[in-house]
Amino acid sequence: MIWLALWACRVELGPPDPPAATSEGPPAGEVWIYTSMYPSVIDAVDPQIRALYPELDPKWYPAGSEKVAQRIDAEWSAGGSKACLVLTSDPFWYVAHADRLQPHLPPNVLHVPRDLVDLDGRWVTARISLMVMAAGSQADRPASFRDLADPRFANRVTMPDPLASGTAFTTIASWSPELTSAVLANGTVAAGGSAAVLNRLERGEKDVGVLLLENLLAARRKGSLVEPVFPTDGAVAIPGPIALTADCPNPSGARAVYDFLLSPAGQQAMIDGDMYAAIPDLPPPAGAPALDTITVRPWSDGFADRVAREQAAIKARWADLVSR
């Protein structure tokens, strides 16, 4: 037992205090990035960052937005987290944890629309996910989210679970309470995340779904026959922010990664990962329409503040609807 414990130890010879990280010179050392970005996006940006900053060693912890939040929360409770950058698709997390973030404004921030940036610089949107609908190739399909409550689609609809997925929560927060309860009362199955929705559509268990466009685009590239439907009452745009933590041990390295992710090359990686860039001039992901050609529910400070305030109530209302 003792032997195992000693084996697990790293032994350092020399003065007990490690040399403090300097903020001079080129960015170097480990930078921990906790993110819900897809592995394919990480695989695309990691070599580019290493080529730009040979001394820098980005360490990625990839997991869903909820798992990232749980891990950081536990590490913070234990005394500190290695996480320097947090990049998930739950914009409300950043509002709730603003006091543990430090401001940073990357050079490209002026290109990002004002509503997608924290005015104190504690987070900046790095990518945008779009919640849309999907259907098999049959003729009868909904035109709007409102249609999901129509008897024609009774027991045919599936969506991600707002209690398990932040993007699904943002979606129902943008719906009216009446629409939410009508959709649910129509026999809609809400479970898992967008991947689970896609699976149920592909298996043919349900034929209409609400899910993230990025999952759909990736599946269609692999030959899936499920088609996107852009709701006429507005697809839901969900900003995926990036933020620098206040107790980041390597801020200069972290800022270099931060700036890269908002640079044209970093933004292109998001587009290649089937998401929209935060900078509106850049092209949409392959196979997707430009955001200004479809109806999108606008993201505003007003909406974000209201939902951040009512979050618990919205979720409790949902839980009541589901267990009725």
Binding site: C9, G223, Q311
Partner: protein, 554 residues
């Protein structure tokens, strides 16, 4: 020597189990209002579902496992070694992969088995229900009961049965009045595992409870939701609900074993003769049919479904020649750079944690039953808890306890820095902690059947503590310890829930890969990995059995 080894085992329980659980409890004490969550109507309903789930699973697993164990362990059933291995397979397939297979087979809309039912005009079977969960988890836990029954019956002292025969009892009477009652400790251990396992199961309820508009939510899914909703306010709620879960999964079984009282169940003494197998005679046919039917339903159906899924080009494309491809195998095994690394890492990690857990569990079990050390029951009791704590909560506890660097400085020059976060060590510890209950339970079941006189004789002849273990205790416990090793190895090999939270960028394992493929890839790719994992587990087990002529392996 003895005190040092046993002290080490207890210290390990304190550091690995009690410390993380205490920190979790601390987050509840910091926000005691979370206790109110227990009384919330949704959670009361979830708790009721958990109780029903436990009861149903217990009925299925005992109802199938006891006869199976008797047939493969105590009768002259043809090919019983083979059947024993095959019937262990439900435990080998990662549970939520099995659940996905059952969804493919039995979802009410277009399940492969429901289509013929619909053609006959019968209503579809619905896997998305409490009954569906009981069915899937029941099949998954049947192997526990089977193995425990086979073990308990196979090691019986033949003289006890012979005496009953001489006294004029018929073979069936012997079975009912002597053999089965003597197997009670083993069966109780198995039953308590089944209960804890059903209460703590998450993957299957998560997939099966959520497929309907008004799901039969259980406690583990509520705990998961509480944490996903908001980790900060959710953690105390999750801990409060976990305590409720522990009451159901561990507290009730513990009470049940108390009720059994203090009877002795010693069946292995120094003078034992080997038992003779029960002759099936004309019952051989029906017995074979029963075992084969179980294998077909619990092993054949889901495994076939997984293999077929792994070969589909498009999931919705149906089972036609144009839609069959090996492309997913190439993509997962060759084109993905990290698959082989993750497989190697998980194999190594599962083997190491199984070994450590078995050693630790054996020492703890022995300490509880064979010494009078103070706190022995408490240490063993705590070691049992983590198995019934949901993986997510346990992983958070380990992060609370061990994610920070611990530095010990000697002579002001040499620093021992224990940084477990994001290392394989932390993952290994998690597996040891979670599955410690298996070797502990197996050891206790084994020791209860063995007369302490055997070990006392060795000690009196001058053998040291390690020698007694090596020469007497370990050989007697061998079947239990081997079973325990596999019972830890198999779930650790493909563990998902804890691995997602604990694995770092350089320590991706099979579980995280499986999750990635399921979330970011597609069902056929995830099925490919499931086929490979199941193949390795089944193949490895078969290899071990052949190499040791059936003395090791399941």
């Amino acid at each position: 020597m003895r005190a040092l080894i046993l002290g080490g085992a207890v210290a390990a329980v304190v550091l690995l189990v009690i410390w993380p659980l205490t920190l979790l409890l601390g987050s509840l004490l910091a926000d005691p209002t979370a206790l109110a969550a227990i009384a919330h109507p949704h959670n009361v309903r979830a708790a009721a579902h958990t109780v029903l789930l436990c009861a149903g699973v217990l009925a299925v697993a005992m109802g199938l496992g006891v006869p199976l164990g008797f047939l493969v362990g105590r009768t002259d059933l043809p090919g019983r070694g083979f059947w024993r291995s095959v019937c262990t397979a439900p435990y080998i397939v990662p549970p939520y992969i099995a659940a996905i297979a059952w969804i493919t087979l039995l979802n009410p809309t277009n399940g492969a088995l429901n289509r013929p039912l619909a053609a006959l005009g019968l209503p579809p079977l619905d896997i998305y229900s409490l009954t569906g969960m009981i069915f899937v988890i029941g099949l998954e836990t049947t192997p526990f009961v089977m193995l425990a029954t086979a073990d308990a019956l196979g090691r019986m002292d033949a003289s006890l049965e012979e005496q009953a025969r001489i006294a004029g009892a018929s073979p069936l009477q012997v079975l009912r009045q002597v053999t089965i009652p003597l197997a009670v400790p083993g069966l109780l251990t198995a039953a308590s595992f089944v209960l804890a396992s059903a209460a703590a199961s998450f993957g299957v309820p998560y997939l099966l409870a959520t497929g309907t508009p008004s799901p039969d939510v259980v406690l583990t899914t509520r705990i998961y939701q509480a944490l996903d909703l908001d980790p900060t306010t959710g953690r105390p709620i999750a801990v409060a609900l976990s305590m409720l879960l522990l009451t159901i999964g561990v507290g009730l079984p513990w009470l049940a074993t108390r009720l059994r009282g203090r009877r002795r169940f010693t069946v292995v003494t120094g003078k034992a003769t080997r038992v003779s197998p029960f002759r099936l005679g004309r019952a051989t046919g029906p017995a074979l049919a029963f075992v084969a039917a179980f294998a077909a339903v619990a092993v054949g159906l889901p495994l076939t479904t997984i293999v077929v899924t792994s070969l589909l080009d498009q999931v919705g494309g149906g089972l036609v020649t144009e839609n069959l491809t090996l492309a997913h195998y190439r993509a997962v095994l060759i084109e993905r750079g990290d698959t082989l690394g993750a497989l190697r890492r998980s194999l190594w990690l599962a083997a190491a944690s199984a070994t450590v857990a078995t050693a630790l569990g054996a020492l703890l079990g022995w300490t509880r039953l064979r010494t009078h050390a103070r706190g022995r029951t408490l240490a063993a009791g705590f070691a049992r808890l983590p198995y019934a704590v949901p993986g997510t909560v346990l992983a958070l506890g380990l992060l609370l306890a061990w994610s920070q660097e611990v530095r010990v400085i000697v002579f002001e020059r040499v620093t021992f820095a224990l940084a477990l976060g994001d290392t394989l060590w932390l993952l290994g510890l998690a597996y040891v902690v979670k599955f410690l209950a298996f070797p502990l339970g197996q050891t206790e079941a084994g020791l209860e059947a063995v007369d302490p006189a055997l070990e006392e004789a060795a000690r009196m002849s001058g053998a040291t503590f390690p020698t007694t273990w090596a020469r007497v205790t370990a050989p007697i416990l061998r079947p239990n310890l081997i079973a325990a090793w596999f019972l830890v190895f198999l779930p650790a090999f493909s563990e998902v829930t804890m691995s997602i939270l604990l694995a770092g960028p350089d320590t991706r394992v099979v579980g995280t890969l499986l999750f990635d493929l399921q979330t970011y890839g597609d069902p056929p790719s995830a099925a490919v990995l499931a086929v490979v994992v199941t193949g390795i587990a089944l193949g490895g087990n078969a290899l071990v059995r052949v190499a040791t002529r059936g003395r090791a392996g399941l």
